[in-house]
Each structure stands twice: as structure tokens, then as C-alpha cells.
């Protein structure tokens, strides 16, 4: 009875998957800037991974003093110049890049699962005790200004990269709870959720197999945009001295150290600042692209 023309095309799983990928790339690449973002992000990640091996002066990322070469302008020997105790800025940036990205990845690796799981649970079990507890705790965390909380945590604990990450994680998860809570509490009314409930699917199945996959688009977009934000906050914390401690380089403490020598020895501040920008900006561009990419799923 079904018209043969409708059924004619054979589609195996591999054919379909390739098709999906091609369409995804098309959607993504329609926005030129997001492709630029992707390329820069990949470059930055590559630099962070191989940075310590290609850094011209790897020793300069540790305790190192060489007053003879201090305050040198950018030159062939020191592309980005040297700082007030003679350390190569480029080498230090390459090392700092690594900890900046690591911070973004680790913070989100913890904050996202916690926020997403609690959000999906609270959203699906709306009206339950679990929802009330989760959402009120979330509200409390959201009510405290994020930066203040991070500063408080980082200053009570010993100032180092690990505690800075801990502080940022603690202030970050509630945003994911909020986001996913909103999505889940509207998706729970969809008929496909009803249908699963009526056949007897478990709450776990419904939350993680039916609802969660439909939340992925906004979550992925937020993760990409947040990578930039977390790195910014990380840099801010180390700028005020609550992140990585000297002599270990971080983009934030390089900027703040160099700031004392502005504007004469501008290279000490400008290059790390550009490095921060080079991380933050492409992640933002990439975020836009990822949003477009998932928008195709909405076409029905």
C-alpha cells in the first residue's frame, strides 16, 4: 500500500551516519566565523599539548633568573621578549596555555555532569522532594556572586591551581542545573515521555535516554561558550594572585606581573593578554557554530 517511491532508497546505518555528518558539517560551515573559531581552537589545543616540547626555553617556566637578559624587547632570540628577571615570555605562555586549557576542561568535566544530572532529575521529578532540595541548593549557589564565591574559596584554601579549579567548579555547576532543569521540565510533558511511562519505562531510562538526548544541543553550546568563560575566570583569579603561584607561569599572573612595567616594557603584558584573547574569542565563535549545528535537529 505504501507507495514504492517512498520506500525506494535503501539506507543502512553507515550511509545514514555519513549523511548526518555531512549535513552537520554543512550547517556548521555556513557560518564562516565558526569555522575560523574551530581552526583557532584546534591550533590552541595543539600548542597547549606540544607547547612544553617546542618551547625555546623550557627551563624558564620554573624558578629561573637571568638578570643579564631581563627586560629585553621582542627579538629573534626572544620572540615575545623577556620579563623583568630575564625569562622568555613565549616559553612561559606556552606552558601557561596548557594550565589554562586544563583548567577549562577539568572544571567543566566536573561541573557539567553534576549540573546536568541534578537538572534532569529535578526537572523530571518536578514537584518531588528531590526537586525541592536540588533547586533550593542551586538557588543558594546562584544567589552568591560567582566571583566572590570563587575568591572566598580560593583564599580560604591554599592559593594554587587545584583550589582555583575547585572554586570555579563549585560556582559553575548550578548554571547547568538551571539550564537542564528548564529543558527537562518542559520535555517531561512531551508525548514520547508519556508513551515511555505508560509502557513502564524506569525513571532512569526516561531521564537519561529519552529526555537528556534532547537537551544536548543547548548543553554543548553552553559548554563551548563556558570554556572561554572558565578560562577568563581562571585568569582573573591568578591575576589577583589566587591561581597558579610564581614561579609557575599562568596567563593571569603574567599579565599582572607585567602590568607593573607598562607601558615601557609593554610586551610582558600584551603577549599574555593576546594569548587569553586567542583562547576566549574562538571558543565563543565555535559556540555559535555548534548552536547552528544542532539547530538542524529541530527541523522536522
Amino acid at each position: 500500500m505504501t507507495s514504492p517511491s517512498l520506500m525506494a532508497h535503501k539506507t543502512g546505518p553507515t550511509v545514514q551516519r555519513r549523511d548526518v555528518l555531512r549535513r552537520a558539517w554543512y550547517n556548521f560551515s555556513r557560518n564562516r566565523l565558526s569555522v575560523v573559531g574551530l581552526v583557532i581552537v584546534l591550533l590552541v589545543v595543539l600548542l597547549a599539548v606540544i607547547g612544553p616540547y617546542i618551547a625555546p626555553y623550557p627551563g624558564h617556566a620554573k624558578a629561573f633568573v637571568d638578570f643579564r637578559n631581563s627586560n629585553q624587547r621582542p627579538s629573534v632570540r626572544h620572540w615575545f621578549g623577556t620579563d623583568y628577571i630575564g625569562r622568555d615570555i613565549l616559553s612561559r605562555i606556552l606552558f601557561a596555555l596548557r594550565s589554562a586549557l586544563l583548567m577549562g576542561v577539568l572544571v567543566l568535566a566536573i561541573a557539567v555532569p553534576v549540573g546536568v544530572v541534578s537538572g534532569v532529575v529535578a526537572g523530571y521529578l518536578r514537584g518531588s522532594l528531590a526537586e525541592m532540595v536540588i533547586m533550593r541548593v542551586t538557588d543558594i549557589f546562584l544567589a552568591i556572586p560567582a566571583m566572590v564565591l570563587a575568591l572566598a574559596i580560593a583564599s580560604v584554601l591554599a592559593p594554587n591551581l587545584r583550589n582555583a579549579m575547585l572554586a570555579v567548579t563549585v560556582m559553575w555547576w548550578p548554571w547547568y542545573t538551571r539550564l537542564v532543569y528548564g529543558l527537562a521540565s518542559s520535555l517531561r510533558n512531551e508525548y514520547f515521555v508519556r508513551a515511555a511511562e505508560l509502557t513502564g519505562a524506569s525513571a532512569g531510562h526516561i531521564m537519561f535516554r529519552e529526555i537528556l538526548p534532547n537537551c544536548l544541543a543547548p548543553i554543548m553550546t553552553k559548554i563551548t561558550l563556558d570554556m572561554a568563560w572558565v578560562i577568563m575566570i581562571g585568569a582573573s583569579l591568578s591575576f589577583v594572585g589566587l591561581g597558579e603561584q610564581p614561579p609557575i607561569p599562568s596567563l593571569g599572573n603574567m599579565v599582572s606581573d607585567g602590568a607593573k612595567y607598562m607601558p615601557d616594557q609593554w610586551w610582558m603584558t600584551v603577549f599574555p593578554a593576546i594569548a587569553i584573547m586567542l583562547i576566549v574569542l574562538p571558543f565563543n565563535l565555535l559556540g555559535d557554530g555548534i548552536r547552528d549545528l544542532f539547530a538542524m535537529g529541530e527541523e522536522r
Binding site: 505504501t2 539506507t11 543502512g12 508525548y191 508513551a195 509502557t199 534532547n214 527541523e299
Partner: protein
């Protein structure tokens, strides 16, 4: 001999909106559905027909009344019913665009009920049964790898029907299964439903607002108005000798193209007004403000369903004469 599959007794479902005010969506509905029957439950939007379906299947807890399924009282939400009862009663929703998860393939969608109900243990068994379900609704095997977005509306609805068949239910409730579909595929889906009904010895509760569809599909028709049933009859009697003025009004408003068809209508009653809000239900007979036959009695007393013409035909109207 014909034990009812489903018995609904004085079912009420009210949705409170503020203190002492409630939407009385279903307000005392009783009917039974016999083995192997297709009962059409027809009504305008707002008559409460979908609420009946949702309460029967367990999406809502009834405010009052009973739902008896194969002799077992299941007047509660699905979460409190046992697995067997959930499998035996299935529902197909109106819009397959929303009843199928856009992020799951047809394979995943069809396997879910099989797994929950322990109907297939091994991987190959699951695959086999999923293919078998697709075959029942006459969709090719290749559709297992499709996502709902890659199918047409009619095909999606067929997948939803295949999913409902997975647990081998004895009762399937259809909530306007074709009204979200393009006209061109409606007939195809309906034909498939009727075929399945015949082949698999199923009972259907068919919710729709399309009276002319019921003429060809159902064995009995029940008309709902503002949360109550006002007439129930065998399909033939329903279309040839309706008793309730509301039924007359609905039958007269079926659009036809020729005068010849127009002649076939039992009586012409112009449609007046619109269905009132179920928050403010008129006193007496619910239909009296729109009824051309209304008399004083209709404004005062609410008529009960009572048998006319030999007992299978039930009407709730003061003005319907028993003959």
C-alpha cells in the same frame, strides 16, 4: 459471552484551577467496550474525549468513578498499575511528531517495550521482533535505522502503532490518530488500523472528532458533549436513526458535496453557538442552550442515559421519545 474488555463507570476527571473552581473535563462517563469491538468516542474540541482516553490509560488519576479492565479495577495512574496491565492497554497519540522521540531511531523506539516487558532476551531476538513489528504495519526493515525526522507523518504514525503493538495488547486507544496527518495519508493509516484490528483480534477505543470516519470504522459510536456521553448506538442506528438533538446537529454539519448526499442526512438541525466552558457547565441538560428542542424541563433536570429502541441504543435526552 461477550465479556467487556473495558468498563468505565461514572468516570470523572476534574482539574482544579483555583479554590472551589475546577475544569470538569470528564463529568460522569460510563460505557463499556466489548471484546473485538471498535468503539468510536466522538465529540467537539473541549468535550473531554481525550481526557477520557488519558484517564483510562493512566496518564491521570480519576477524580471519581472506576476503570475496569478485563475484570480488574485499574482506576489509578499507570505508575501504580502492574506491568501486565500496562502492556495489555496501549495508546497511540495524535501527533507522531511529538510521540516519537526525535533523538531515537525506530529500532530503539521499538525495542524499548520489548525490553521492559521481557519479550525478547537476546540481541537477535530483539532485532527479529522489531522487524516483525515493522512488517505488521507494512513498513520495510530499513526503517529501523531512521530517525523520526527522516520519515513522513503517516510513516511516523505507523511506527507509533507498531510500538503500541509490541506488547501484544488487547486494547488500543487511539487519540485522534489521523487528525495531525496530511489528508493524503489518513486513509492509508486508517486502512492499516482496520486490517490490524481484524487480523490480531484487538479492541479499539477510537477517539475522534470526525464523525464520517466513524461511519466506516467503528462498530458503535458514543457522542460526548461537555464531559458526558449523550448518545451511544450501533454505528448503523447512530447514522440512520439518531435520537439526541446534538447528534442531529453534528450529522447535519458533516460537509457534503452533492444534494443527493445531503438528502441522506436524517434531519437538518442548524448548528448554533459553541461548546460552553467546562468550568461553567449549564444547569439542567448541558446541551439546552444550543438545543432547538429545549423545554423547561431541560433547563432544570439533567437527563440520564437511558435505553431506547431495544436497549442497545442509549440516549440522554428528555425529548427523545422511546419508541
Amino acid at each position: 459471552m461477550n465479556q467487556p474488555v473495558l468498563e468505565v463507570r461514572e468516570l470523572k476527571k476534574h482539574f482544579p484551577i483555583r479554590k472551589n473552581v475546577a475544569v470538569r473535563a470528564v463529568d460522569g462517563v460510563s460505557f463499556e467496550l466489548r471484546e473485538g469491538e471498535i468503539l468510536g468516542l466522538v465529540g467537539e474540541s473541549g468535550s473531554g474525549k481525550s481526557t477520557v482516553a488519558y484517564t483510562v490509560v493512566g496518564m491521570y488519576r480519576p477524580t471519581a468513578g472506576q476503570v475496569i479492565f478485563r475484570g480488574e479495577d485499574v482506576s489509578r495512574e499507570a505508575a501504580r498499575r502492574n506491568l501486565g496491565q500496562k502492556g495489555q492497554m496501549q495508546i497511540v497519540f495524535q501527533d507522531p511528531g511529538s510521540s516519537l522521540n526525535p533523538r531515537r531511531t525506530v529500532r530503539q523506539i521499538l525495542r524499548l517495550p520489548l525490553m521492559i516487558h521481557g519479550l525478547a532476551k537476546t540481541e537477535s531476538e530483539k532485532e527479529e521482533k522489531a522487524v516483525d513489528l515493522l512488517r505488521r504495519v507494512e513498513l520495510p526493515e530499513e526503517y529501523l535505522d531512521k530517525y523520526p525526522s527522516g520519515m513522513g507523518g503517516g510513516e511516523r504514525q505507523l511506527v507509533a502503532i507498531a510500538r503500541a503493538l509490541a506488547t501484544s495488547p488487547s486494547l488500543i486507544i487511539f487519540d485522534e490518530p489521523t487528525s495531525a496527518l496530511d489528508v493524503s495519508v489518513q486513509a492509508k493509516v486508517i486502512n492499516r488500523l482496520v486490517e490490524l484490528h481484524r487480523r490480531l483480534n484487538l479492541s479499539y477505543l477510537f477517539i475522534t472528532h470526525d464523525l464520517s470516519l466513524m461511519r466506516n470504522v467503528s462498530s458503535r459510536v458514543a457522542i460526548m458533549y461537555l464531559g458526558v456521553i449523550c448518545e451511544v448506538a450501533e454505528t448503523k442506528a447512530f447514522f440512520t436513526a439518531p435520537r439526541h438533538p446534538y447528534t442531529h446537529m453534528l450529522l447535519s454539519s458533516i460537509p457534503v458535496v452533492s444534494d443527493l448526499e445531503e438528502e441522506l442526512k436524517p434531519r437538518k438541525v442548524p448548528s448554533v453557538g459553541e461548546i460552553p466552558s467546562p468550568v461553567n457547565i449549564p444547569r439542567g441538560c448541558r446541551f439546552h442552550p444550543r438545543c432547538p428542542e429545549a423545554v423547561q424541563q431541560c433547563r432544570e433536570a439533567e437527563p440520564q442515559l437511558r435505553p431506547v429502541a431495544g436497549g442497545t441504543h442509549l440516549v440522554a435526552c428528555h425529548r427523545a421519545l422511546p419508541d
